[in-house]
């Protein structure tokens, strides 16, 4: 008998700002490098996914209408909260992946910096991606980017934290709420990220994080009529085809990310305006100019 029994954490889903268990009553163990069970995570169901999309829908307008300055401060707040828990995240990564503690720390640091990077983009991408158009007539004509809507995210297995942070912060920066499915193999950092969101002024429902079987959730996510954008990283060809086929009927915007280990770390590759653009629709507004 050990002197003190460990408290094994119950990892729950993050939906609508709270931490429910999956309605399916299923869970899966998370192992450390030596095969010891260190936690259990929920296996989210289709119904949990629908619940998450519903939560996102409720705050879709208010998040899009929030000022860019406010969205920037909230993303920065997330960075602050993540910064203060760096050790815990690094340990979760190094315990559950082959990464060395040093590499795990590097990933956590990059994730904090990534949030800061996107916090700074919230009130600038409009100026980079929008423009005034010199039409041949007496009109003011300008193109402004607007958030496309609820974004479904299938984040990569590796880097589990940096991939997820990158993929949620780009749409969040534009004003899209997100429903993210964490890595199957390394869900723990995602679970912890939900806790960071819950303490960082992100309105409930703007970020929703599910753990479980990605394969089970790909199709219902791509088919869901309220989901406007699907972003997915490092998919297998068959999964790509599955998403594109399932998303065709709703004519969803699909953003497929293909990053190497090093390009995930590279801000120019992973956090440029061209990584923000897929979550935007351009609106062009005409108005006559006359006396």
């Amino acid at each position: 008998m050990p002197e003190r029994l460990d408290i094994i954490k119950t990892c729950k889903l993050f939906i609508g700002g709270s931490f429910p268990r999956t309605e399916s009553g299923r869970s899966a163990p998370v192992h450390d490098g030596r095969g010891r069970v260190i936690a259990h995570v929920c296996i989210a169901s289709r119904k949990d996914l629908r619940e998450a999309v519903e939560s996102a829908r409720r705050v879709s307008d208010s998040w899009a209408d929030a000022s860019a300055y406010l969205r920037g401060q909230i993303l920065y707040r997330m960075a602050e909260m993540l910064e203060s828990r760096r050790e815990e995240f690094a340990s979760a990564i190094s315990t559950t992946t082959p990464l060395t503690p040093a590499k795990a720390r590097r990933e956590v640091d990059a994730s904090v910096d990534r949030l800061v990077r996107f916090a700074g983009w919230t009130d600038k991408f409009q100026q980079v991606l929008g423009c005034q158009n010199p039409v041949a007539g007496p009109y003011y004509n300008f193109s402004v980017p607007q958030p496309s809507g609820i974004t479904g995210i299938l984040s990569p297995d590796a880097p589990s934290l940096l991939g997820l942070v990158t993929m949620i912060s780009a749409p969040l920066c534009t004003g899209c709420p997100v429903v993210a499915v964490a890595s199957d193999s390394t869900p723990l950092p995602a679970v912890l990220l939900g806790e960071v969101c819950a303490t960082s002024d992100i309105p409930g429902g703007v970020v929703n994080i599910l753990t479980g079987n990605r394969a089970e959730l790909i199709e219902p996510m791509a088919e869901h009529r309220e989901v406007q954008v699907i972003a997915a990283a490092n998919l297998k060809p068959a999964q790509r085809e599955l998403i594109q086929t399932a998303a065709a009927d709703g004519l969803k915007r699909i953003h497929l990310l293909e990053h190497s280990d090093s390009s995930w770390l590279d801000d120019d590759a992973a956090a440029s305006p061209w990584e923000i653009d897929p979550y935007l629709d351009t609106k062009t507004i005409w108005h006559p100019s006359a006396t």
């Binding site: 980079v128 423009c131 158009n133 010199p134 039409v135 041949a136 007539g137 009109y139 004509n141 193109s143 607007q146 496309s148 406007q228 060809p237 068959a238 790509r240 085809e241 599955l242 998403i243 594109q244 086929t245 998303a247 065709a248 009927d249 709703g250 004519l251 915007r253 120019d268 440029s272 305006p273 061209w274 653009d277 629709d281 351009t282 609106k283 062009t284 507004i285 005409w286 108005h287 006559p288």
Partner: protein, 487 residues
């Protein structure tokens, strides 16, 4: 209606003398496929008639490209690709400038041909379509050697062979929208015009020969849906661009799934046009005319749902009926014609089915234009419905004809909720003289193009394209280049 009737030209008092456009166009008896820089007979050995929808006379016979023809066109485009992409960008630009100039020089001929083959009034093809066609090539020509500035931090490269499928409502303009950005970005193209309106694209091919565009850079093949499907499914086509119905667009999205092909879709719409009580009413009436009766309503961004604030509904409906009565319908080649022929008998039947459905569901049809219609050809009088419920078919589905559904609202919130209550999101109009309101409504409308105190304005520098099920991708402006480059 009282009072206004006595002023109406056309129905009482004044008659207009015919004012036909007399420019002659040399139309060949038959046209081949434009592949690798020359016209060739189709390997399919099949041809089909193209008619003038205003007279039902056969204008010419056009080739129907089969799979072997599609393959030859794609092969030609693929072979021409590396040379075109390697060409010094400023030289590539000069080819596009040359195209623009030849279009301007041949513009009347092309306008007349567009009107004869498609049915649109000459004043529209002459004053709107053709100037925009030339502008698109001129505008995009200038981008060819400046692409790096369009994409900060990236090095844009051509995508490869582009398969481009275009509709019959703006045949030459849609060809320009597709070809100009693709060529400027260094791609080569296989373009398929719609089967009822192939002729102007084939005359554009003659221009490509005249200006010595390298063979294979643009290939124009004619045919119907099967030809289009063969282009989309060809493994060497790397980018698909389609303008047409949402139904076909969804089908294309499924057919390119998993292939890695880039896709842009410019699809249908059921665009709202919102008139507030504080709008300049007479200007708004002209805006409604432009929004729904322009090009016989064969416009994907037509303002086919009119929302009028309740307090001015009677006035707007009276004035609209008066204005509709004065529209001149008939010979599209007459310079005074406002509303031309419906593009095809198939489309006419579709429109008539919707008009019947509107009446069946209880809406009230206003069809007060009493001008005599020509004996031959496909004609539909401009009309509008009142008493339309949001659930009615005519308020939900794209009709693609000169049929307007008029509804009323009380508050801006109601107008917005109802305007956005559609899977489409292509365009929208809003009319008010209150600046703050117009910006707020424009911001909240789910539409890729919002016309404030105007409607149906287009420009090569102005991005066009939809939200939601109206498709994705933009055409025109800096944003339109994105579809034709990879990083």
């Amino acid at each position: 209606m009282t009072g206004v009737d006595s002023h109406t030209a056309g129905t009482t008092g004044w008659e207009y003398s015919p004012a036909p456009e007399r420019t002659r166009v040399a139309i060949k008896d038959e046209y081949g496929l434009f592949i690798n820089g020359s016209f060739c007979a189709p390997k399919s050995r099949r041809r089909f008639d193209t008619i003038n929808p205003a007279t039902e006379e056969t204008l010419s016979r056009v080739a129907e490209a089969g799979p072997a023809d599609v393959n030859a066109a794609v092969e030609a485009a693929k072979a021409a690709g590396p040379g075109w992409a390697r060409l010094k960008p400023s030289e590539r630009a000069k080819f596009l400038f040359r195209i623009a100039r030849r279009i301007q020089e041949r513009s009347r001929e092309l306008a007349v041909l567009e009107t004869m083959d498609g049915g649109k009034p000459i004043k529209e093809s002459r004053d709107i379509d053709l100037p925009l066609v030339a502008q698109h090539f001129f505008y995009h020509a200038g981008w060819a050697d400046k692409l790096a500035y369009a994409f900060p931090g990236r090095t844009p490269r051509p995508v490869g062979v582009c398969g481009q499928i275009i509709p019959w409502n703006f045949p030459l303009l849609m060809a320009a929208w597709k070809l100009a950005p693709a060529l400027a970005c260094g791609n080569t193209c296989v373009l398929k015009p719609a089967e009822t309106t192939s002729l102007t694209a084939l005359h554009l091919a003659e221009i490509f020969q005249e200006i010595e565009l390298p063979p294979g850079v643009v290939n124009i093949i004619t045919g119907a849906g099967e030809t289009g499907a063969a282009i989309v499914e060809h493994p060497d086509v790397k980018k698909v661009a389609f303008t047409g119905s949402t139904e076909v667009g969804k089908h294309l999205a499924r057919s390119v799934a998993g292939t890695g092909k880039k896709l842009t879709l410019e699809l249908g719409g059921k665009s709202p046009n919102i008139i507030f009580a504080d709008a300049a009413i007479d200007q708004a009436i002209e805006g409604i005319v432009a929004s729904i009766w322009f090009n016989q309503g064969h416009v994907c961004c037509a303002g086919s749902r009119l929302f009028v604030q309740e307090s001015i509904a009677d006035e707007v409906i009276d004035k609209l009926a008066h204005r509709m009565r004065s529209l001149r319908i008939g010979d599209p080649l007459d310079k005074n014609t406002d509303v031309g022929a419906i593009n095809s008998s198939t489309q006419l039947k579709t429109i008539e089915r919707y008009i019947d459905a509107g009446g069946d569901e209880g809406a009230v049809l206003h069809e007060v234009n009493e001008q005599p219609l020509p004996d031959k050809g496909y004609w539909c009088r401009p009309c509008f419905f009142t008493g339309v419920q949001p659930s009615h078919v005519i308020a939900r589905e794209e009709i693609f004809g000169p049929v307007l559904s008029v509804m009323t609202f009380r508050t801006p919130e109601e107008a917005l909720a109802r305007a956005n209550n559609t899977p489409y999101g292509l365009a929208a109009g809003v009319w008010t003289n209150t600046g703050s309101k117009i910006f707020e409504i424009a911001r909240k409308l789910d539409a890729g193009v919002v016309w404030c105190n105007t409607y149906n304005k287009f420009d090569a520098s102005s991005p066009f394209g939809g939200f939601k099920e109206s498709g994705f991708g933009r055409e025109g402006g800096r944003h339109g280049l994105r579809a034709y480059v990879k990083f």
